[in-house]
Symmetry: C2
Subunit: 242 residues, 2 copies
């Protein structure tokens, strides 16, 4: 039976928040990691970074995944892939040199799509970009979006038939652009099948930490979290049966 994992949007980053319940929430999963989830090899985690990529959406999950190497073996190998090897400039104006281009990137086990400035308009018409995401996403074990990166995953067809989410203020736009998709609000992230989509910003740590726990277990996730001064509470993750 397919399970979908959510993390309440308000729970993680506020003491005063009250977790929104959904009729669909039927159980609390106290243990999301299972032995069969544990990778037997280093996972290649490729971060798609194009001009206008947002710092937080790139760096927060990057840090979570990169730090796995200090807590588990085999861990994750993180890298940045861009259309070419030319440096890209983030939305906030930081110049970053990619590790790989679309041409020479190695196999990607986890494809991460951080939001970028034009994810809701011109990037959706960029056939090279969308083809890359479609092809690499199809082969990947997991695809993850931060913030409006969900629009890119959706355009590439990777969110068909799965529950998903995006940046809170862009939920309506995403529903309009992709009326057939099942888009959730008031959640930090949604995991359904191989897709993990998320709200972004400072909450961009959540979906990555969740995946670390899913793959490597609670203690490893807590170790990674502690290094990043995050109080990670596995008990706050709810699973739903769609």
């Amino acid at each position: 039976m397919k399970k979908v994992y959510f993390l309440g949007l308000i729970v993680f980053l506020s003491a005063c928040g009250v977790e929104k319940d959904s009729k669909e929430v039927v159980q609390t999963s106290l243990e999301i990691h299972k032995p069969e989830n544990a990778p037997t090899k280093v996972l290649n985690v490729g971060f798609l970074a194009i001009n206008g990529v947002y710092n937080s959406e790139l760096m927060a999950p990057y840090d979570i995944f990169q730090h796995t190497i200090f807590h588990t073996d085999p861990g994750m190998k993180t890298f940045i892939v861009s259309p070419t090897l030319e440096p890209i400039v983030t939305f906030e104006g930081i110049t970053v040199t990619p590790h790989y281009s679309f041409e020479n990137v190695p196999e990607i086990d986890v494809l991460v799509v951080p939001s970028a400035e034009h994810n809701m308009d011109s990037d959706l018409e960029d056939e090279v970009l969308i083809s890359f995401v479609k092809e690499k996403g199809a082969k990947a074990q997991f695809v993850m979006s931060l913030c409006d990166g969900a629009f890119i995953l959706a355009q590439a067809g990777l969110l068909d038939n799965v529950k998903c989410t995006t940046f809170p203020s862009d939920i309506a736009k995403m529903r309009k652009r992709f009326p057939d998709l099942d888009i959730y609000e008031d959640v930090s992230f949604v995991h359904d099948g191989k897709a993990i989509t998320s709200s972004g910003g400072a909450k961009s740590y959540d979906p990555a930490l969740y995946l670390v726990e899913y793959l490597y277990g609670k203690q490893k996730a807590k170790g990674v979290a502690k290094g990043l001064v995050i109080d990670w509470k596995v008990g706050e993750i709810k699973s739903i049966l769609p």
Copy 2:
């Protein structure tokens, strides 16, 4: 009378945390912004980035400060300054090209020192680095550290006679290295005089957002916070009278 501002470490990033009280906490400041705090010009915010700088500690405050330009005018001009103009490689392995070197950096109003891999050892013996921080910090209106960046500020003498904090696991090391300093634990950040020191990691948004509120007011801070999917609660900030 000098006031020191704290944000409880657990409050911001966990629903289950209980804020630790201190005997010194004597009032809750519901309004930290005062008209006299409001800058009349664009503030230059210089981020010190050296090899081994941690992504989150660099990017989280960078995003908060850079995004001010969408919420207030005059806002902040953010840039990265490194010893030379050569690209630096972050702890997590991302190559970043600085905007300025120590030689050509413009005036810095807010000097931000994110942690880097060797902040607790060899960086403290780097006379060029420490001299730069000492000189620019003396002229700046504010100095801010994330995580172990506090060691650099301390070595440069910028934490003499102020309360301060650092990465939770390095509090003991900092007390040993700088026995005369007044180092707090269980707080996200401490603001005392011109120094704002903080715990780091995913909590690196806090001190920057606090400074945005201090300078530009609650509504501006809430606007910046919303864009980064942060629930910023001014009422959670406590002021103490040392």
